[in-house]
Amino acid sequence: MKKLKTYMLHYWYLYLLGTVCMVSAIVLDMITPQITRRIIDEVIVGGKMELLMGLLAGILAIGFSRAILQYIKEFTWDSVGAKIGRDMRIDLFRHVQALSMDFFDKHNTGELMTRVKDDVDRVWGVVGFVGNLSLEAVIHTIFVLTCMFRLNPWLTLAPLVVLPVIGVLAIRMENKLGVVYDEISEETAELNTVAQECIAGVRTVKAFARENYEIEKFSRHNRRFYDLNMRQARLVADHQPLITFLGKLMLLLVVIVGGLMVIGGKMTLGDLGAFSEYANNVIWPMEILGWLSNDIASAFASWKKIQKVAKQEPQIADDKDAQPLPQVKGEITFDHVSLTRGGHEILRDVSFQIRPGHTLGIMGMTGAGKTTIVNLLQRFYDVTSGRILLDGVDIRTIPLAQLRASMAVVMQEVFLFSDTVSENVKTGKRGTLSQDTVKWAAVRAGASPFIEDLSNQYETVVGERGVGLSGGQKQRLCIARAIAKQAPVLILDDATSALDMETEKLIQKNLREVSGLTKIIIGHRVSAVRSADEILVLDHNTIAERGTHEELMSQQGQYYQTWCVQARA
C-alpha cells in the first residue's frame, strides 16, 4: 500500500480542476450581490433603465456559469474520490491475497471484508466529496474574512475570537467520534462475522433447530451496534447545536460591538449592515465543518485499520536471491523436518525422499500431522527446523510461484468458486488451459458423467459451496481441477473420502496411468496407499512406521492392524 498522499497526487490534475472550478464559483457568488446592488441603486433608484438588460444578462450569465462550474466541480470531486477508492482497494486486495496462511488463520473473512469494502469506502468519501465540502468551507471562510477585514479590521476580531473556539469544539468532537467509530467499525466486523457464520453454517443451525439461539446471538450484537450508534448520535448532538449556537453568538457580538461603534461614531450604519451580512455568511462553513468532522473522523478510523492490514508483511515471501529451477523434475526430500506453532509441536523430525515419478503414501491418526506435511511442502508455513528440498534445492530459495505451480493439491476441504464448472477446473490457468484439457481432466477424475448430466454441462454454474452437487461430485471436481493443472507433483490429501468405492477405484486407476508424476497420497484406506513406493504411518506428530505395503504388513504394527480392520469388512 502506498501513502494516501501518493494516491491523491496521482490525480492532481483532477483536484486542480475541481479546485479551480470551486474557487471560480465562489468568486462568482461574491459578485452577485454587487449586481443586485447596482440594479437597485442605479436602475430602480437612479432610473437608468438602459443598464437593466445588461445587468440582468449578468445575473443569467452568472447563474449559468455557476451551474457549469458547480457541475464540473462536484463531478470531478466525486469521481476523483471513487477512482482513488478503486486504486486503494485494488492494492489492498493484492496485498491481502499475498499474505501468508498465518494471517488468515488469525483474521476471519468477515473482518477482512470490512477492511477491503467498508473501510475503503469511508476513506474514498473523505478524499472525494467530503474533501470538496471541507475545502470549500475553508476557502469560503477565508474569502469572507478578507472582505470583513477590509471593511473593519477591529470588528473582525469578533469572528477571529469565536472561530477558534468553534474549531476546538469541532476537533474535540472529531476526536471523540474517532473513538466511537473505531468501536462501530469493530462491531460492524463482528456483526458481519456472526451473520456470515450463521449463513454459511445454515445447515448445522437448522439441523439442530437452533434458529432461535442464533437470532439471540445476532440480537445481542445488533443491540450493541444500536448502542454505539446512539453514542455517536449523542456526541454529535452535544457538539453540533453548540457550534451553531456559537456562530449565532458571533453574529450577535458583531452587531452589539459594531452597534456600539456606530453609536460611538466610529463606523457607518451601512458598513455595519454589510459586515453583519458577511458574518452571516461565515456561519454555514462552520456548521458544515462540524458535520464533516464526523465523516473525517470515521474515515481516519478506517484508514488506521487499513494501514494495520497494509503493514502486515507476508511471513512467507520469496527470498532475495530466489532462483527459479530450470525444470522441475519432482524429487521431494524432507530432511529432519519439525514444525512448532504457538508452543505446540505439530511435526517432529520427519524425513523422507520421493524420487521423480514415485509415489509416497501417508496414513495415520486424525491430527497426526498428515496435512501439515502438505502445508509445509506448499510453503503455507515454514519449517521450524530441518529443510525441505525440491529437486535437491531448498524450497525457501525457489520462487513461491514456481514452487506452488509445480504441485497440484486436492485438499481435504472441498472448496469450489461460484463459477462455471470449466472456470473452476481452470483455476490458476485460465488463460492457457483449453476446453479439451478441461474435459480430459474431468474424465480422469470420473467427473464427466455427472457434468454432462448438468443443465449446461461444463458451463453450469456451481454455487459458492458447490451447491447443487453432492459431496462426492464436488470432490471429483476438485480432483479434476488438480489434474488439469498438469503439475509434476500431485498431492491427494484424503481426496476420495466422499467417493464410493467404484469411483475411487476408477480414479486411482486413472492416476496410476499418468506416468512421470510424483505423487503423495494421504488416505485412511489401505486401498488408497498400498501401491505406493513407500508408505509412512504417522503417529503423534512423527513417523511411527515406514516401508512398502509388504514390509509394513510383515511388521504387524499399526498399518497391519488397519489393514485387518478394513479387510475384515
Binding site: A67, K117, L269, T503, V565
Partner: protein
C-alpha cells in the same frame, strides 16, 4: 439449478417505488407520539432560526440607528435566550430522532435476520453468502439517512418553503408569481434526474453486492487461490468487480450532480425574472426598493430548502433500492415453514414411513431426484444407505429432516405426517451429521453443547469420550475452553468431524442421521468411534450413509439406492446371497483392500 455467481447481478422483483417508500415509512409511523414531539422541537428551533435575522435587523435599524444602548442590551439578552432555546431544542430533537432511527434499523435488521433463518436451503443454495450479508448489514445501514432526514430535513424545509411562499404572495403576488414560475420547470427536471439516477444507483448497489460476494469468496477460499497460484486471475476478476463498482458510481453521480447545476440555473433565471417582470412589466415605481430587497433575500431563502429537499429526494432515490432489496428478502416466502395449526411432535419412538414419495427441486420440477420411494423403518432400526454418488441417498435423509418438502407422496414419523408438526419439535428430535462439518467461532464447549446448551459437564465429557475426542481436546491449550476460529489451523478436518460427532451425541436425538460423517477420520479412530456409534445407535432409529462397508455391515437393513429409488433392501447376508448390486459393490471394495 439457478444459482447466482459473485460476478453476476441479482435478479429482483420490480415493485413501485411509492409502495416501497410507504412501507419504509410505516416503520416511522409506529413512533407517532415521539415524532410529534420531535416535530414540536423542530418548530421551536425553526422559529428561533427565523427570529434571529429579524432581531438583528431590528437591532441595526432601530436601536443602533437611534443610539439606544439600553434597547440594544435588552435585545441582546432576548437574542441570547432565543439562541439558547434553539440549541437546547436542536440537541433534544437530534438525540430523539437518532433514537427513533436507530431503533427502526435495529428492528429491520432483526426482522431480516430472523426471516432469513426461516428460509429454506433453496434460498441459500441459490446465492453466495456475501450477497445475503450485504443486505443484512450494508443495506440496512443505508436506510439511516432516509429515515432520520425525513423529519430533520423534510419538515423544516417544507415549512420554510411554504412560509416563504406565503409571505411572498402576501407582499406582492405578481412578483411572487414571477419568482415561483420556475418551480414547475425545476420539478420537471428534478423528476427527470431522479428517474435516471435511480436506475443508475440500483446498478451501483448491485455492483456493490457483487464486490462483497467476490471478496467474501476469495478470502474464504484463500488456500485454493494460493495453492493454485490463482492470485493473478483472482486479482483480475477483483479489479473488474472493483472497477465496475467505481464506474457505476461515477455513472450515477454524473447524472445526480446535475442537481446542483439545476438549482444554480433556476436561481439565475429566477433572479432574472424577478427584476425583469418587476421593473419592465409591473413597473419599479409600484413596488418599492424595500420589497425588491426583501424578495432578493427571500429568493435566497427559497432555494436553500429546495436544495435540501432535492438532496433528501436524492437520498431516497439512492437508498430506496436498499429498501427494495431488504423487502425483497422479507417477502421471500419460507418454503419450508410451520403450517398453520402445526402441532408439537410428541416424544417419538422413531418409526419412519415413506409412502410413494416423489421429489424434484422446485426450479427443476421435471427432473425427479426420487421416484416413488416407499419404505417403513421400525423404531430403533439401523438402516444403511449405499449406492453410487449422486443417486439420492442424501436427498432421502434431507427429506426426513424436512430440509425439503416432498413433491408428492407422504412421509410420516410415528404416524405424524411431517407437514403437520412444527419444525422445531421435529428437528430437535433428530441428530443430523453431514458431510461438511461446520463449527462456529467459540469454545470447544460451546460447539459440543450447541444442540443442547443445558447439557451438563459430565454429559459433554461423556460424549467427547465416546467419540474419542476427549484426549485431543485435553491436549489443546485450554481444553474445553479453547477458542476455535473459522480457519484455525489447530484442528484437522478429522478432529473437526469428531467434534461435530460429539455435538450430535450431546443433543441426544431420537432419530440419528449420519451422512458420510466419518469420512475424514482414520481407520483407527473410526474403529473406536464405531463403538461410540453403536452405543449411540442403540434404541434409536438410525440412517447411515457411508462408502466404507465396514460401517454398513452391522446395520439391520441395507438399502441400495440407484436410479432414484431403492433397488435392493435387506440385511448384509441377504444381499450378499442375492449377488446383486450390493454384492458387486462389496466385492469391489474387498478386492482392493
Amino acid at each position: 439449478m439457478a444459482v447466482n455467481t459473485a460476478k453476476q447481478d441479482e435478479l429482483q422483483r420490480e415493485v413501485p417505488k411509492r409502495v416501497t417508500l410507504m412501507r419504509l415509512f410505516r416503520y416511522l409511523f409506529q413512533y407517532k407520539k415521539t415524532l410529534v414531539y420531535v416535530a414540536a422541537l423542530i418548530l421551536v428551533a425553526l422559529a428561533a432560526t427565523l427570529a434571529g435575522p429579524l432581531m438583528i435587523e431590528r437591532a441595526v435599524d432601530v436601536h443602533v440607528a437611534n443610539g439606544d444602548v439600553a434597547g440594544l442590551a435588552r435585545l441582546a439578552v432576548l437574542a441570547l435566550a432565543v439562541y439558547t432555546a434553539y440549541a437546547v431544542c436542536t440537541r433534544k430533537y437530534m438525540v430523539t430522532m437518532a433514537g427513533v432511527t436507530n431503533k427502526i434499523l435495529l428492528t429491520i435488521r432483526g426482522q431480516l435476520y430472523e426471516h432469513i433463518q426461516t428460509l429454506s436451503f433453496h434460498f441459500f443454495d441459490s446465492r453466495p453468502t456475501g450477497k445475503i450479508l450485504a443486505r443484512v448489514v450494508g443495506d440496512v445501514n443505508s436506510l439511516k439517512d432516509v429515515l432520520s432526514d425525513s423529519m430533520t430535513t423534510l419538515l423544516p424545509s417544507l415549512l420554510t418553503l411554504i412560509g416563504v411562499a406565503v409571505i411572498m404572495l402576501w407582499k406582492n403576488w405578481q412578483l411572487a408569481c414571477a419568482t415561483l414560475l420556475m418551480l414547475p420547470v425545476l420539478a420537471f427536471f428534478m423528476f427527470l434526474i431522479q428517474f435516471t439516477a435511480h436506475k443508475l444507483w440500483q446498478i451501483h448497489r448491485k455492483k456493490n453486492s457483487n464486490l462483497n460476494a467476490f471478496i467474501h469468496e476469495d478470502f474464504s477460499g484463500i488456500r485454493i487461490v494460493q495453492s493454485f497460484a490463482a492470485e493473478q486471475e483472482k486479482q483480475k476478476d477483483f479489479e473488474q468487480c472493483a472497477g465496475e463498482y467505481t464506474s457505476s458510481f461515477i455513472n450515477a453521480v454524473r447524472v445526480e450532480d446535475a442537481f446542483g447545476a439545476l438549482v444554480e440555473i433556476t436561481w439565475g433565471v429566477g433572479g432574472f425574472l424577478l427584476y425583469f417582470i418587476g421593473i419592465r412589466i409591473v413597473g419599479a415605481d409600484k413596488i418599492g426598493v424595500g420589497t425588491f430587497m426583501a424578495f432578493t433575500s427571500y429568493l435566497g431563502m427559497f432555494w436553500n430548502p429546495i436544495r435540501n429537499l432535492a438532496s433528501f429526494y436524492n437520498k431516497i432515490v439512492t437508498n430506496i433500492s436498499a429498501a427494495e432489496r431488504i423487502f425483497d428478502i422479507l417477502d421471500t416466502p419460507s418454503e419450508i415453514a410451520d403450517r398453520e395449526g402445526a402441532r408439537e411432535l410428541p416424544q417419538i419412538t422413531g418409526k419412519v414411513c415413506f409412502d410413494h414419495v416423489n421429489f424434484a427441486y422446485t426450479d427443476e420440477p421435471d427432473r425427479l431426484v426420487l421416484e416413488d420411494v416407499s419404505f417403513t423403518v421400525k423404531p430403533g432400526e439401523t438402516i444403511a444407505l449405499v449406492g453410487p454418488t449422486g443417486a439420492g441417498k442424501t436427498t432421502i435423509v434431507n427429506l426426513i429432516s424436512r430440509f425439503y418438502d416432498v413433491t408428492s407422496g407422504r412421509i410420516t414419523i410415528d404416524g405424524n405426517e411431517l407437514h403437520d408438526v412444527t419444525l422445531k419439535s421435529l428437528r430437535s428430535q433428530m441428530g443430523v451429521m453431514t458431510q461438511d462439518t461446520f463449527l462456529f467461532t467459540g469454545t470447544v464447549r460451546e460447539n459440543i453443547c450447541y444442540g443442547r446448551s443445558n447439557a451438563t459437564e459430565e454429559e459433554m465429557i461423556a460424549a467427547a469420550k465416546a467419540v474419542h475426542a476427549h484426549d485431543f481436546i485435553m491436549r489443546m491449550e485450554k481444553g474445553y475452553d479453547t477458542e476455535i476460529s473459522e480457519r484455525s489451523g489447530q484442528l484437522s478436518i478429522g478432529q473437526r468431524q469428531l467434534l461435530a460427532f460429539a455435538r450430535t451425541m450431546v443433543s441426544d436425538p431420537r432419530i440419528l442421521i449420519l451422512d458420510e460423517a466419518t469420512s475424514s477420520i482414520d481407520t483407527h479412530t473410526e474403529r473406536m468411534v464405531q463403538q461410540g456409534i453403536e452405543a449411540l445407535v442403540k434404541g434409536r432409529t438410525s440412517f447411515i450413509i457411508a462408502h466404507r462397508l465396514s460401517t454398513i455391515r452391522s446395520a439391520d437393513r441395507i438399502f441400495y439406492i440407484g436410479d432414484k429409488n431403492i433397488v435392493e433392501a435387506g440385511s448384509h447376508e441377504e444381499l450378499m446371497a442375492k449377488k446383486g448390486m450390493y454384492y458387486r459393490l462389496y466385492e469391489s471394495q474387498f478386492e482392493i483392500a
